[in-house]
Amino acid sequence: MLYIKCPHCGMRPQTEFSYGGDASVKRPELNKDVSDQEWDDFVYNRKSLRGKHLELWQHISGCRQWIKVERDTATHEIFRTFKADEEVA
């Protein structure tokens, strides 16, 4: 069992959360020309890093907020969690 510290609710078991994938993926800005390659990178292409991975989770059975989690994909260790709109240094 993973334990994720929701920045709004505190430490909760993983079963309260739902996964949302790579948080570093940025949607192309719509007010400028977007190339096919940019859409490809947004929709399909993923780095899927081994090691530290910043990802989205939703506290679906709690506050229902989206959050960012910095987690190691090799050891499952969770380092830090952030609110969805928080900048990650």
Binding site: Q14, G21, Y44, K47, R50, E55
Partner: protein, 418 residues
């Protein structure tokens, strides 16, 4: 190479089986090869075998970081099937079924192929309609499919829950009678032994740490055991695809996820077929040792850990118990995990890349084991001829940008949702 036969078995019995040849050698890497296959799993070994057998290319090395057959080919639930609706998947897998049927003779190695049939259960009228459609598509592609009603399913698997008040009643099912299982380790070992006998170097404990690419062309690889020159390089590394892609500055439509499986204590024969639960994701068969072999969903987050967490296992087995309540009485013997190369449309990639001489075989998601012979055969063709075969033409890398996706389940790009 020593042939495995009853005569050789008897002959070797007189010397207490001490004088058998090694099944494959342990060579030191040569300076140069025509083809280097990275990844000594089922697909890599099969690719090397078909390169030698079908294309007479024997200056081949398989580079494996750990030991051959230690990854997903030794971690799956051994299911072999071709019950797909889309032409690309159906024709590719059915070609593979033919290779499976001949494999034990072909490799002179008993892979214990057991065509015991697979039944996908349906739990609503809508699902029965969908299965009828899939069954028709299969039959149009020459794949055997039988639509079973509730009574027919009950005849075959009476131990499933046919009581009146269940949440997901069994309406019927779609059966592929020619599907089945095989001894997964034997597949890896059989391919390795034959490839080795034809001159392929199987190099274990050798990690790839980099690639030698210049002017858009591959020249070789850098490994923990030195540099190796190669005219062509094939990537067959399943869950490690993203790691090697990063070294090539490639970003692929692949995510690496964790999938668990488990076996119960051995019991007397009770289940003749492979059965899948249609209202979730759970599949079960019974091994020759009597263990119930079970699996289902991904753990649901990117992972390279090769070991899973209990909530997913509990979720999967809850579905199993809903389908076959007697499973709740069994003790769990072993659980394990493997890392899957989950592609963005659920279908694999067997293709050339933008780097000349570099070939890609990945994206097998839940279905890598059954594809082993067809994947090896088509990948060998793609490498040897430097062009894709019609069987893997649909499994192109650029289908994601051109929109020619092969999304069998219609799940979209959230690879962890099953």
């Amino acid at each position: 190479m020593q042939k495995y036969s009853i005569f050789n078995l008897v002959k070797n019995a007189f010397s207490n089986h001490q004088n058998w040849d090694l099944a494959w050698k342990d060579p030191t890497p040569k300076e140069e090869y025509d083809v280097v296959i990275i990844g000594g799993g089922g697909h890599g070994l099969a690719t090397a075998y078909y390169l030698a057998k079908e294309h007479n290319i024997t200056k081949v090395a398989i580079i494996e970081k750990g030991w051959i057959g230690g990854g997903n080919v030794g971690r799956n639930t051994t299911i072999i099937r071709s019950n797909y609706m889309h032409d690309e998947n159906g024709l590719f897998s059915e070609f593979g079924m033919d290779l499976w049927r001949k494999m034990s003779q072909d490799l002179n190695y008993n892979v214990m192929f057991s065509p015991r049939g697979i039944i996908n259960l349906a739990h609503s009228d809508a699902q029965m309609n969908a299965y009828a459609r899939r069954g028709n598509s299969m039959r149009l592609n020459g794949i055997d499919a039988v639509l079973l009603n509730r009574e027919q399913v009950k005849e075959i698997i009476p131990m499933a829950d046919f009581s009146e008040n269940v949440r997901f009643p069994i309406f019927g099912g779609l059966m592929q009678p020619s599907a089945g299982t095989a001894r997964h380790d034997a597949v890896a070992w059989g391919y390795a032994r034959q490839a080795d006998s034809m001159g392929v170097d199987i190099i274990q404990n050798c990690e790839v740490i980099g690639f030698d690419v210049s002017a858009g062309k591959i020249n070789g690889i850098r490994t923990s055991r030195g540099n190796i020159k190669a005219k062509k390089v094939g990537l067959c590394v399943a869950g490690s695809t993203n790691i090697l892609a990063e070294k090539l500055n490639m970003t692929l439509p692949i995510e690496t996820h964790l999938l668990q499986a488990c076996v119960s204590e051995p019991i007397k024969p009770v289940l003749d077929n492979v059965v899948t639960f249609g209202a979730g994701h759970f599949y079960v068969s019974q091994s020759d040792k009597g263990e119930m072999v079970m699996g289902g969903d991904l753990d649901g987050y990117n992972s390279y850990a090769q070991r899973g967490n209990l909530p997913t296992l509990q979720h999967v087995l809850t579905e199993g118990i809903a389908m076959m309540p007697f499973l709740s009485k069994l003790k769990m013997l072993r659980t394990w995990g493997g890392i899957m190369d989950m592609s963005m449309d659920g279908s694999p990639i067997i293709d050339k890349t933008h780097i000349e001489g570099l070939y890609l075989n990945c994206g097998w998601c839940y279905g890598g084991f059954k594809a082993t012979p067809a994947s090896g055969w088509t990948f060998a063709h793609t490498i040897a001829q430097d062009r894709v075969h019609e069987l893997n033409a649909g499994y192109s890398l650029n289908r994601f940008s051109t929109g020619h996706l092969i999304d069998e389940k219609g799940l979209g790009t959230k690879t962890w949702i099953s």
